[in-house]
């Protein structure tokens, strides 16, 4: 039997020749092949063609196609730690950013806590009122110290003790009068300022100022009042000066326990026309600065490390 072949027959012939038919397909095709002469002739012709094509020789290589290590080579990763460095760098960057943010927050938050607007304003007014006595308090002790240094000069260790002892001692008569004349609204027992601020508790009349001017030298001379001498810590001394100068003995302890006011010290000194004492080089203020500097350096180093890691990976 001879039949005309279609494209599917030729595809099957090729698949049969290449061994790409399944067992079932091959059996069916071989059965058909046995009874079809033209199919057998086509298979023979195809076999010869494939044999000829497979005689194509392999071309010799003109050269090697290896890549030049100098151009394409890059150092292989040495260990599993190589992936660790970018992660470490990223963590360092995050930590440094936190340090910077903490420093900024410390600067902003700390400033607000130390010098709230109301307190600052009240104390500024107070400082203006007692400008003259304050000036005296800066000058007089020095003069007295020159005369009798042993009696008048409280050391840094003595000063806090003296300030604590002050409320226990009896206030002078003038001070008591002042307290009776203006009993309200001062500091409460815990030393907390009244809701209206410090200004509300401080007398603004001239007599009180005069009394304060008089009482200040007394306290410096004989009593245990801290005395706003420059030998005290620069932050504490100016702060206590006007408060003590008011002559309110009961208020001394409360004011003495109040936190130092660095900004106020300068304002008071400026108001008094006195050169404020020099700030210590390493006080409380440098902490946020140190945080900012260390954080900034760490951030820069981490980002640089990250950049190098990414560049190497590329």
């Amino acid at each position: 039997v001879s039949t005309s072949l279609n494209e599917q027959d030729f595809i099957q012939l090729n698949a049969y020749l290449d061994g790409e038919l399944s067992t079932g397909e091959r059996e069916v095709f071989e059965a058909r092949l046995a009874g079809d002469v033209s199919l057998r002739q086509e298979l023979d012709a195809l076999r010869v063609t494939v044999s000829l094509v497979r005689m194509a020789e392999r071309a010799p290589l003109p050269r090697n196609f290896t890549l030049d290590p100098a151009v394409y080579g890059r150092p292989a990763r040495r260990s599993g730690l190589s992936g660790f460095w970018p992660a470490l760098s990223t963590a360092g960057a995050a930590l440094s950013t936190l340090l910077v943010v903490a420093g900024l927050l410390f600067l902003r938050g700390g400033g607000a806590a130390m010098a709230p607007a109301e307190v600052s304003e009240a104390l500024r007014e107070e400082a203006a009122e007692f400008e003259a006595p304050t000036a005296q308090t800066f000058e007089e002790p020095e003069a007295e110290m020159a005369e009798e240094p042993a009696a008048a000069e409280p050391t840094e260790e003595e000063a806090p003790m003296a300030m604590e002892a002050a409320p226990a001692e009896e206030p002078s008569a003038e001070a008591q009068m002042t307290m009776q004349a203006a009993p309200e609204p001062g500091y409460d027992e815990e030393g907390a300022p009244p809701p209206g601020g410090l200004g509300g508790g401080l007398p603004s009349e001239e007599p009180a100022a005069e009394e304060a001017a008089e009482s200040a030298p007394d306290m410096v001379e004989g009593e245990a009042a801290p005395g706003p001498t420059p030998t005290l810590t620069p932050f504490a001394a100016p702060t206590t000066a006007p408060t003590v100068g008011v002559g309110e003995a009961g208020d001394r302890a409360a004011v003495a326990e109040a936190p130092p006011q660095p900004g106020l010290a300068q304002e008071q000194a400026a108001a008094a026309g006195v050169e404020p004492p020099a700030r210590p080089k390493y006080g409380a203020a440098p902490l946020p600065v140190i945080l900012l500097v260390v954080g900034g350096l760490g951030l820069a180093a981490s980002l640089f490390g990250l950049f190098i890691s990414l560049r190497r990976r590329r």
Binding site: E7, F10, I11, L13, N14, A15, D18, E20, A45, L46, V48, T49, V50, S51, L52, V53, R54, M55, A56, E57, R58, A59, P60, L61, P62, R63, N64, F65, T66, L67, P69, Y72, G73, R74, P75, A76, R77
Partner: protein, 196 residues
């Protein structure tokens, strides 16, 4: 050769491992390119380009047959080279082929009588001419199947076409080759004459 280990090392940037793979596959890659391109220079260019591309793309190799993956890059490089050639033809591929030294003679190292050498050269010329007469897609399948001996599945993987397409392209290419080779019948050995 531990191919998997070499591939992993090459993926980490070890160029020596990659060059070991190149040395192993360069002959097959070049011969595929040579049959597709039809001349030695273009084939060498396409092969080198393919190995460079493969190295750059090695990070995207996700297992399977590395040979099939590599030869797919080779065939793509050949297609690119052919397109470039068709845009700016500089010389006939056939002429270039005829100018090439006959393949297989340089490294045989055997003394061959002149008549036998001439017959072999004629057959190689005829085969190459018939290959070049095929459409690109059919030539690709014929080279991969009959010259390189890949299975249908591997060819489908390399060329990126369906298995049925591979079968039909192969059937058509062999039919064309048969017709072409009949034109060189007087050059063929007696046993291989198609119209006996």
């Amino acid at each position: 050769m531990d191919e998997a280990a070499l591939i992993k090392a090459a993926q980490r940037g070890d160029i020596d491992s990659y060059n070991t793979l190149v040395l192993h596959y360069q002959s097959q890659a070049y011969n595929v390119a040579y049959r597709i391109m039809g001349n030695a220079d273009s084939a060498a260019d396409a092969t080198q380009e393919a190995f460079i591309s493969a190295y750059k793309a090695l990070g995207r190799f996700r297992g399977g047959s590395f040979k099939a993956w590599l030869l797919r890059i080779v065939t793509n490089a050949c297609y690119d080279e052919l397109r470039r050639y068709k845009r700016r033809p500089q010389a006939s591929l056939d002429v270039l082929y005829l100018e090439d030294p006959a393949p297989g003679t340089a490294f045989t190292g055997q003394v061959e009588n002149p008549e036998s050498h001439a017959q072999r050269m004629d057959l190689q010329s005829a085969l190459q001419e018939c290959f070049q007469g095929l459409p690109d897609d059919q030539r690709m399948v014929a080279v991969l199947c009959d010259v390189e001996g890949f299975s249908y599945d591997e060819i489908a993987q390399i060329t990126g076409v369906a298995l049925g397409t591979v079968k039909s392209r192969l059937s058509r290419s062999r039919a064309r080759l048969r017709d072409c080779l009949q034109g060189f019948e007087e050059l063929l050995p007696q046993a291989y004459r198609l119209s006996q």
